[in-house]
């Protein structure tokens, strides 16, 4: 069964269209990378899937139903900068909050210790789970955060920038772990990222969010010169290194100077409008 299906989805926040005409599907046991400049609406996409932001147009089905807040079948890992990394609480307690954190009252759940233990085993974090978050390295913290997000063995796992702020070795470790989680739980994994390259070995599909649009498909069908040049309205070159990494030329400005507050005259999505937009930006 398809994990997630979006048909002609659009999001409008405070009168501003974030993106529109988004149609894509996400299948079980796949990894989907969500790429695009800052402020393009990547995190908003996750919030829509979580049921925190409503679609203003279109239909979204998550696990065969409308998105609903607090669905245990959907796991979510927030950007690390929003987690209190200086906290004195231990990794194990943080993972435990993923299990019964939303619950009020005195009742203690006898199954909790076992479920938390399973999540620690899955993510290989048991050896440092009893240390406070503030003493962990960035990579260890992200592994703990993955344990927190997977405590209910979700069928859909949403990860917001899990590689941000990590060195290359730690990035590779997290990518391996994401792959392992996908293989062992058969979850559909959606990863918001800045750079495709570290994820490239495990990615099946790409959602490219930019200019109020979302382009979707296999890596080669989205991250190519024709699609990106058309999306951005100016020539984009892609250089593939002998090791298969992609260097994208022509988007440096876009990623260095994000424009979270877009211009209204790009509404019609015509190429002439993009040209105008760029001329204006250049002044």
């Amino acid at each position: 069964m398809t994990t997630l299906a979006m048909k002609s989805g659009a999001v409008v926040l405070g009168g501003r269209t974030i993106w529109r005409d988004a149609s894509f599907r996400i299948e079980p046991a796949t990894v989907t990378a969500v790429l695009g400049p800052n402020g393009a609406g990547k995190s908003t996409l996750l919030r829509v899937i979580l049921g925190l932001v409503p679609l203003s147009e279109g239909v979204l089905e998550v696990l065969g139903r409308e998105p609903e807040r607090g669905n245990r079948r959907v796991g979510y890992m927030a950007q690390s900068r929003y987690v209190d990394n200086l906290s004195s609480i231990t990794g194990r307690d943080y993972v435990g909050l993923g299990y019964d954190g939303p619950r009020f009252g005195w009742r203690r759940d006898p199954k909790k210790a076992d479920v938390v233990h399973q999540a620690l085993m899955l993510t290989g974090t048991a050896s440092f789970a009893d240390q406070p978050l503030r003493t962990l390295s960035g990579g260890q913290r992200q592994r703990i955060a993955l344990a927190h997000a997977t405590v209910f063995r979700p069928e859909l796992l949403l990860l917001d920038e899990p590689l941000a702020g990590l060195d290359l070795a730690a990035q590779a470790e997290i990518v391996d772990l994401i792959n392992l989680i996908r293989d062992s739980t058969r979850a559909a994994v959606v990863v918001v990222a800045h750079d495709l390259n570290p994820l490239a070995p495990i990615v099946d599909e790409v959602l490219w969010v930019a200019r109020r649009q979302i382009r979707s498909g296999p890596v080669s069908e989205v991250v190519n010169e024709r699609v990106l040049s058309e999306l951005y309205g100016h020539p984009i070159e892609i250089i593939v290194t002998p090791h298969g990494r992609r260097v994208i030329v022509g988007l440096e400005e876009e990623f260095a100077h994000p424009h979270p507050h877009g211009h209204d005259h790009t509404d019609e999505l015509g190429h002439e409008h993009f040209a105008e937009f760029y001329e204006e930006e250049a002044q």
Binding site: S88, T90, L97, R103
Partner: protein, 276 residues
């Protein structure tokens, strides 16, 4: 009078009951004040309380009525405004300064002697009446019950608000609940140590506990224990040796924090030496 005779007087016994109730509530709420790094909000609510108490005295009411109205009002304001605006410090700062200004006005309008002001600022634990003790005990009990019931979601939003939100916890509601509990705790703590020294029960024991242990429940229990022992010992020393009780409590609680930090520093150093 011997120490034993002094300890059996009504005013010392009332003080004992009051500090016991207050310390337990302040130790519990203090843990979240430290965990959420909202010491500034705790500080502000105390000062807002000053204006409330001064206003109540001016109107001829019991200071605790003014404290309740003003502290809860400020708590709601900071809880709603701060969570929504993501600009907590500014909201807290403006609330604090506006209330202090009102406090100054009330004091200047009040023609009575300055003793009332002094009591509000520095506490007057040995002047707690029977009625006050009952109210303080009930409020403290309510706070402790509420903290234990909301403990898990409160911890969740304090550590990872985004994940908590995705799991259906209302971050705004929890912020409001926290500020209301903080306000009630501040009201009762002011009865013991006064506006200027609320931190001695609300922050120092919890901060020490948070350094000494990493687990939430033990940290909260330790925080309550440290607050309680500072308060009991402070009361005893005040009665026995003289000097303001609030001074003794503050000195003891601060020493506990100092001890925790020194201990943690030594532990870190010996660990580093072991690795070297």
């Amino acid at each position: 009078m011997s120490l034993l005779q002094l300890l059996s007087t009504t005013f010392v016994q009332n003080a004992f009951y009051a500090v016991t109730a207050v310390s337990i509530a302040a130790g519990a709420v203090g843990y979240f004040v430290v965990l959420r790094r909202q010491a500034f909000a705790a500080h502000a609510i105390g000062h807002v309380g000053f204006a409330g108490a001064a206003g109540a005295v001016l109107l001829g009411l019991s200071p605790i009525v003014g404290l309740l109205v003003f502290c809860l009002g400020a708590g709601v304001l900071i809880g709603v405004g701060g969570a929504a605006l993501d600009d907590r410090d500014a909201v807290v700062g403006v609330t604090l300064t506006a209330a202090l200004g009102l406090g100054v006005l009330f004091i200047s309008l009040y023609s009575g002697y300055a003793n009332a002001t002094y009591t509000i600022l520095f506490g007057q634990i040995l002047g707690v009446s029977n009625d006050d003790v009952l109210l303080v005990a009930l409020l403290s009990l309510a706070v402790v019950v509420a903290v234990s019931l909301t403990y898990r979601p409160m911890l969740f939003v304090s550590v990872d608000a985004q994940s908590a939100e995705s799991r259906g916890v209302s971050v705004r509601a929890m912020s409001l609940v926290f500020m209301a509990l903080l306000a009630l705790t501040t009201v009762v703590a002011i009865q013991v140590v006064g506006v200027l020294l609320v931190f001695s029960l609300l922050v120092a024991p919890a901060a020490a506990a948070e350094v000494l242990t990493n687990r939430p429940w033990p940290a909260m229990a330790l925080s309550m224990g440290l607050a309680l022992s500072s308060a009991w010992l402070g009361l005893l020393l005040g009665v026995w040796l003289g000097g303001p009780v609030s001074f003794w409590i503050t000195a003891l609680a601060s020493s506990a924090y100092l001890y925790a930090r020194v201990r943690a520093a030594i532990a870190a150093r010996s660990q580093a030496a072991a690795h070297a």
